[in-house]
């Protein structure tokens, strides 16, 4: 009664000003940090990238686009791009398929649904450094992976594929990247499972009931109904996955050091950038790589948007 009539009274102008002032005060610290560390950073990175830069004295000599040209013509950077693309092309579909498979399973009416969901997501909670260190230990020449496959008699199969009993999975040029792909498919499949689960639960039951009445089997229902109706889910997971894949870094650095050993097998675009900045201390070159990387990621996102439809809710 009184409250309602008071609320409907026109707002005094100085009250509006007080509200605006409070608003600005409440967001002041975050906006200041974003302004310097995000917006400012991009402008600063563009500026640095066209100079020869000295850590102590700043800009030394204007070089224009020379850093960009040097990067694109460096064979090691080309290797880094190739490795990163290879990783993306193999890891993204593999992990999406695994995540979708797990999501469909835990979306069924099964006993212990919560437990299985929690268990499948479990590998995703650990830090990349811990899980990679652990993985390298497991995949070492004398590690348990090689021992277990010997024990269960799989070695003939592996030697058929050209692997010795003491295969050095992370230290061999031919298997290093695939070993990282396997690790990240295992850890990230749980995250993608959760993404897909949210998407699966938005499909109405009526569609499935109609399919059941028409006598559709489980596989047919999945292929003709679930999979196509998950299109927004596919788009969202694929976008997140590709952005993540193009930024592969932690596992490559821990597995192969700052040079992506062995023989550049683990050299990725971000590792190349890190190498330029903190091994060669060539900051303007690293800034240029950062811009190139940003353009690549942005383009990939736009291309996916063109191919698969509209932007997600965020």
């Amino acid at each position: 009664m009184t409250a309602a009539s008071l609320a409907r009274r026109p707002r005094a102008p100085n009250k509006g000003r007080a509200e605006a002032l409070a608003g600005y005060l409440f967001i002041a610290v975050p906006m200041a940090l974003f302004l310097v560390l995000n917006v400012g950073s991009i402008v600063y990175a563009l500026f640095i990238s066209v100079w020869k830069w000295n850590l102590r004295s700043g800009p030394v000599e204007f070089t224009g686009l020379r850093n960009y040209g040097t990067a694109l013509s460096d064979p090691i950077f080309q290797t880094a791009i190739r490795n990163t693309l290879y990783y993306a092309v193999v890891w993204v579909p593999l992990t999406m398929a695994l995540g979708l498979f797990l999501a469909v399973i835990v979306n069924q009416k099964i006993h212990g649904q919560t437990f299985f969901r929690a268990a499948f997501y479990f590998p995703a909670i650990a830090s990349s450094a811990a899980i990679t260190t652990l993985w390298i230990f497991i995949m070492a020449p004398d590690g348990i992976f090689n021992q277990v496959r010997g024990m269960v008699g799989l070695n003939p199969l592996f030697s058929l594929l050209g692997f010795t009993a003491n295969q050095n999975w992370i230290g061999d040029q031919g298997t290093a990247m695939n070993t990282i792909i396997l690790l990240n498919a295992w850890t990230t499949s749980g995250t993608f499972m959760l993404f897909y689960l949210a998407s699966l639960q938005s499909i109405s039951h009526e569609v499935y009931e109609a399919a059941a009445i028409d006598g559709a089997g489980a596989w047919q229902t999945f292929r003709r109904i679930t999979f196509p109706l998950l299109k927004p889910g596919h788009y969202f997971v694929a976008t997140v996955a590709v952005i993540g894949a193009l930024q592969l870094f932690d596992q490559a650095l821990i597995g192969g050091g700052v040079d992506g050993a062995p023989n550049n097998a683990l050299m990725t675009m971000v590792l190349y950038l890190y190498n330029a900045a903190f091994k060669q201390f060539n900051f303007s070159y690293a800034a240029a790589i950062g811009i190139i990387l940003f353009v690549v990621i942005f383009t990939a996102t736009l291309v996916q948007r063109r191919l698969f439809g509209q932007a997600p809710a965020w």
Binding site: A3, G16, E19, A20, L21, A22, G23, Y24, F26, I27, V29, P30, L33, F34, V36, L37, V39, G40, S41, I42, Y44, A45, I110, A118, A119, F120, F122, I125, A126, S127, S128, A129, A130, T133, L134, I136, F137, A140, I144, Q147, T191, L194, F195, A198, F236, V240, Q247, D250, I254, L273, Y274, A277, F283, S284, A286, A287, G290, I291, L293, P312
Partner: protein, 299 residues
């Protein structure tokens, strides 16, 4: 498996339904067995790191489940002989993750409230900037942020802590999550408080903040986990070994520190890097799962 080895033939004088039932029961049992096996497989590597941390060095490469002999040597080595030692790494990780969680809660709830409720010119544009920060890859910011921090002395001494905290002191995700939650709370509640003469800050603190529990819980868990596990910024901004966090310590031991194959203490460090998050996961699993599903942003 207790099911018969031979399937019942179709022409045996048994009703069709039991045959179907039995084969379904068998299939279901197989499915559950596979599911449980796969679930166990998820835990095996972590269990292996715990087991190995209690083994001796020669025993650490043997495929045995029980350490023989059981020893605390690996832990003792990690705590006293590793450089930087395990307690220092743990302290640094806890300090940085703890402070960053608090700053995200304080700054995120203030800003989230302002973007949800207060009217001020430019609000929509400023909120777009908040969302845009989520799209900028950290690698693009590496050089400028490092040079700015280096220029103002945040890459030396205690400044390193400050630098690594500042760069993640507030995330767009935290603001976004809390704002979305505040939008769901009816306006009447705070209008009543406003009429009683409460200022904007008092209304926020006394009326709105106590209602935001679930959102604050999700932000706290996601921020703590993300910062505890953080790799990129600590790697760039923590220069002295004495300031390393657990993930950077692990990288150092493996690549430059010369401890790459001294497995028991290495695995003890892996256990310490993982255990706090596992404990959080056991108690607050709901926040992890819902937070990830709601934002679609990891960490």
């Amino acid at each position: 498996m207790t099911s018969p080895a031979r399937p019942i033939r179709a022409d045996t004088p048994v009703a069709i339904a039991p045959v179907g039932d039995r084969s379904w029961a068998w299939r279901r049992r197989l499915a559950y067995t596979l599911l449980i096996a796969y679930a166990i497989l998820m835990f095996v590597p972590f269990a292996w790191s715990i087991i190995t941390s209690f083994k001796t060095l020669p025993d650490s490469v043997r495929l045995t489940i029980l350490p023989d002999p059981f020893t605390l040597q690996g832990w003792d080595f990690a705590i006293t002989k590793l450089t930087p030692p395990l307690p220092v790494l743990f302290f640094n990780s806890a300090l940085i993750a703890g402070v960053v969680t608090v700053t995200n809660l304080v700054l995120g709830s203030l800003a989230g409230y302002a973007f949800a409720r207060l009217r001020f010119p430019g609000r929509e544009v400023l909120f777009l900037i908040v969302l845009a920060t989520l799209m900028i890859p950290d690698q693009l910011r590496l050089v400028p942020v490092y040079l700015i921090f280096n220029g103002i002395g945040l890459t030396k001494g205690v400044g390193q802590y400050l630098g690594v905290i500042l760069v993640v002191a507030i995330s767009g995700t935290s603001i976004f999550l809390i704002r979305q939650y505040f939008l769901t709370i009816p306006r009447e509640l705070e209008e009543a408080a406003r009429i009683d003469g409460a200022g904007f800050f008092t209304t926020f603190l006394r009326v709105m903040l106590p209602l935001a529990g679930p959102a604050l819980g999700a932000v706290a868990i996601l921020t703590f986990q993300g910062t505890w596990n953080g790799f990129f910024w600590p790697l760039i901004l923590l220069q002295d070994q004495g300031h390393y966090t657990l993930p950077i310590g692990l990288l150092f031991f493996r690549t430059a520190g010369g401890f790459a194959t001294i497995y028991p203490p290495l695995m003890a460090t892996v256990v310490m890097a993982t255990l706090p998050i596992v404990v959080l996961y056991v108690f607050f699993q709901r926040y992890f799962v819902e937070g990830i599903a709601a934002t679609g942003v990891k960490g």
